[in-house]
Amino acid sequence: MAKEKTGRLEACRNRSGYVFITPFLVGFVFFMLIPIVQSFWFSFNDVHIVENGYELLARELENYRYVVAVDTDYRQRLVESFVMTFRDTLVVIPFSFFSALILSRRFHGRTLARAIFFLPVIVSTGVLANTDSGNAVMGMMMGRDPTTASGDPLGTLSASGLIEFLLAESMPAELISFVTAATDGIYDIIIKSGIQIIIFISALNSISPSLYEASNIEGATAWENFWKVTFPMCSPYILLNTVYTVIDSFTNTSNPLIARVRNELMGLTNFGSASAAAWLYFFAIFIVLGAVYALISRKVFYYE
């Protein structure tokens, strides 16, 4: 690509771009950069809330040492949240890609199906993500033990009873528990896939039909079309969606570690060690994201 020469008028015009992004720059400095620096600073201190502001007490690396070496709960939650993110990403990406493949074709009632698939993005976020519980009584009514029903965090469609009933006679117990865990997680997976499905549908729609025409003339089967055309063309969006899913899972309020940090901060106690915990976590996320990006972006195909 030849470097185009920008005239003086052009340069002047381009400078007004700064004006458009000024709100963001101001906001970034005051509500991002400064808080980030402060939070980093807090993580080396003990923070005491006083009447009109706060006092700091230098602790050096004590907060970090506490979080890493003393606090067993933190380590456990850290591992849990990594496992959760890993599992989510592995299931959400294939599931949403598959759903998008199905929803991108024409069929009767497609608009309705898409609307319902996207519904969780609207109604299962924030506080609503945690209020699906409380169906203990419903479970009881459906002939299930209320104690186990209330232990089911989402209290949603649970196939365990049915599967246990069907398989208990013939299958080993480990297999049953694996299958029931997977089926009980379906609701979880679906509500985490809304945005990804939309992104994949838009990716599929953006593939030029002429590519399929060409490959059909060459005698490709539907299977070959998928692997040689559809999949490579969608690979940038697989990367995008993977990064999105990883971030979403890491920063979701249902994440065990985020839940803990959030509780500490909301309780307005232990600011120092909570900041240290958040920062360690942030570094961990950063490393994982970098690894994911490096791993996938090598396989991504860009059509130019």
Binding site: Q38, F107, S202
Partner: protein
């Protein structure tokens, strides 16, 4: 004669493996879509059926989904307990303010990143990406303390300042959306406007903005909906302000209080059942406005993202 030919044609059709594959695929598609849709709607449906039940229905084993003592009483009671009218007014007020501000600020910023080639553009856009991946928990404490020392707590000021400067949670995503939209507009449009004597600002206001209304609407709706359910910033920055999300969050304690006051009316045994009914009803009351909005504006939610959105 004719009949035999038709039969033969029919037989040939049936023997065609492609037809069978297509048929099997559509059956599979039907099962898959129905199954997923059912799973998504199931919690809503159970809540809906529960919200019309009388307490006794919950203990009646013959009642599954349809209430025997069908009653809208729960809605009235729940609305009274949580003060639904006030909650609704508060929440709509906050969400509208935040949504409008974010729609404007993110569109401006997205436009700036999309249409001008200023220095450090790439590096500055990386800051937007940083905002996207930064867990809000990291900056929550300092934000709280700063707003406190500025005396901005207990008002709309924190929300307004975060939204107007496009750094509220998820704003990175909206900037991204707006940028993708504006990138799709051909350069010739700018050139034509410039030849007609319009400067950068006039071009934006007169040429770009009218076309950008759908994408602004999308940003507004997403921001509105996510603000509706937001329960991290609101209780921290404006704890006395009752929104629907906060009411849902505090429902358990509210109910416990209420139970103590009215223990004569509601017996101990029915507590669990009654609470579940109230909880289900309250959740539905929180969701209904969103559902209505979603049904009316569905095309802005899905199609706008699909078309203008990420792929451009």
């Amino acid at each position: 004669m004719n009949n035999a030919a038709a039969l033969r044609r029919q037989a040939r059709k049936l023997a065609n493996p492609n037809r069978w594959a297509k048929f099997l695929f559509s059956v599979f598609r039907l099962v898959f879509i129905c199954g997923i849709c059912f799973t998504i709607l199931y919690p809503l449906l159970t809540k809906l059926s529960m919200s019309f039940m009388d307490e006794t229905d919950l203990y009646d084993r013959t009642v599954k989904a349809i209430a025997k003592h069908f009653t809208p009483q729960n809605y009235l009671e729940t609305a009274r307990y949580i003060g639904y009218g006030e909650l609704l007014a508060n929440t709509i007020g906050l969400c509208t303010v935040v949504g409008l501000l974010q729609a404007v600020s993110c569109t401006l910023v997205g436009y700036g990143f999309a249409r001008f080639r200023f220095r450090f553009r790439g590096a500055l856009f990386l800051l937007v990406v940083l905002c996207m991946i930064m867990p809000t928990q990291v900056i929550l404490t300092p934000l709280y303390l700063n707003f406190k020392s500025l005396g901005m707590l207990g008002s709309f000021a924190p929300f307004v300042s975060l939204a107007a400067t496009a750094v509220a949670p998820r704003c990175g995503l909206y900037i991204f959306l707006a940028r993708q939209y504006f990138r799709g507009i051909p350069k010739e449009v700018d050139e034509a406007a410039s030849i007609d004597g319009a400067g950068a600002y006039k071009t934006f206001a007169r040429v770009m903005l009218p076309g950008a209304l759908p994408i602004m609407m999308t940003i507004f709706l997403f921001s509105f909906v996510w603000q509706w359910t937001e329960n991290t910033y609101t209780p921290l920055f404006y704890s006395s302000f009752n929104t629907i999300a906060q009411a849902l969050n505090n429902l358990d304690s509210t109910m416990a209080e209420m139970m103590q006051n009215t223990s004569a009316v509601v017996s101990m045994t029915s507590r669990v059942a009654y609470q579940s009914i109230i909880k289900a009803t309250a959740t539905l009351l929180a969701i209904f406005p969103l559902l209505i909005l979603y049904v009316i504006c569905q095309r802005f939610f899905t199609e706008s993202v699909e078309r203008s959105g990420i792929v451009g």
